[in-house]
Symmetry: C2
Subunit: 174 residues, 2 copies
DNA sequence: CTTGACTCTATACGCGACTACAGGGTTTAT
DNA sequence: ATAAACCCTGTAGTCGCGTATAGAGTCAAG
């Protein structure tokens, strides 16, 4: 829905095609969507995009619809859907099945996950804050590695569940 | 599994301090610490544990200190430290360097990360809740994949910013 | 003595969402 | 005409934190 504008919109890309953009190459799609070229091919392999037309030399030729599809994918990702779930939704939609029931179920599940995760995070945050404060006053005891960590009490000593922090961000690549 | 008799003094013990258990085998350590056998060997490989004594037949023989070390590791993990950071801290401590400054810096960094992440999560949660609600009243529109997702507005359309789990920053084609 | 639980090493796999490379072909700009 | 910039396929690697398997040796009990 939304934008069903088919005409030759002036797109800011560096190339000015005369004809309406029925055939963007992968690099243009990447630039306009913000999704990397490799990621686009990866999405295609993963069944998120479907196979685009090809030029006689084999280049992928996308039409504008792909941008909406990519916007959909990005939004769904933003909302916490995995690519797998997104693929499911899209595939249902293409089979004519309303994805909404599926999606609703998925959203509910995700909702519960998120709120639990937020709780953990907040606990985590409190724990860290307390640790820092105590630290500033206590310093370290002689016999141990780091008194405050060692003195920290855990509500949940399960070794797997305590890991809250998601993947670490690389510090490079500003 | 489970109840194993240790030389003279121990039933699966919690209070077996008759003689200091200078030789726990890996399974016992696993049981008492809650850390899996494979994980213990993995920690050793990763430099978190140091090499324990060995029996003539090559079995690892741990003394009680390892339990404290493992408790330290688990707590630090619980607090959001990566194994890498924990290794650093321990290594500093063993070199005689006070790890506390390092740790403090790490904790502060982590603190900021966590609170930002919590904010994202809450935003995310709100977004999802709103989506579900609208869904229940609106239903689906005919032409699209899933109207509500497509209608979702993203505050920050950057592909990296909305993610639940952070990922590496993608470099744009310059 | 045999069984079965335990341990050893080394290697491979799993997750999620890409990213990087190798080794080509094609298009575009000078 | 030539080089730069793009595109192709296919495979492998990354990140963190382990888990799983294979194939072998060891230990305590029945």
């Amino acid at each position: 829905m939304a934008i069903r504008n088919n005409t030759a919109t002036t797109i800011v890309g560096r190339t000015n095609r005369l004809s309406p953009r029925t055939s963007m190459k992968i690099g243009e799609v990447s630039q306009e969507s913000g999704v990397g070229v490799e990621a686009l091919r990866f999405y295609e392999r993963s069944g998120l995009l479907g196979r685009p037309a090809r030029s006689r030399s084999g280049y992928r030729l996308y039409d504008e619809a792909v941008l909406e599809r990519l916007a959909f994918i990005r939004k769904a990702q933003f909302l916490g859907f995995s690519l797998d779930e997104i693929r499911h939704i899209i595939s249902d939609a293409e089979k004519g099945v309303s994805p909404c029931d599926d999606v609703r179920a998925i959203v509910r599940r995700r909702l519960a996950e998120v709120s639990e995760r937020v709780k953990e995070m907040q606990r985590h945050h409190r724990e860290l804050t307390r640790t820092l404060e105590e630290w500033d006053e206590v310093g370290r005891a002689p016999g141990n590695i780091c008194g405050l960590i060692e003195g920290t009490e855990m509500q949940n000593p399960s070794p797997t569940s305590g890991r809250v922090t998601p993947k670490k961000q690389r510090k490079k690549t500003a």
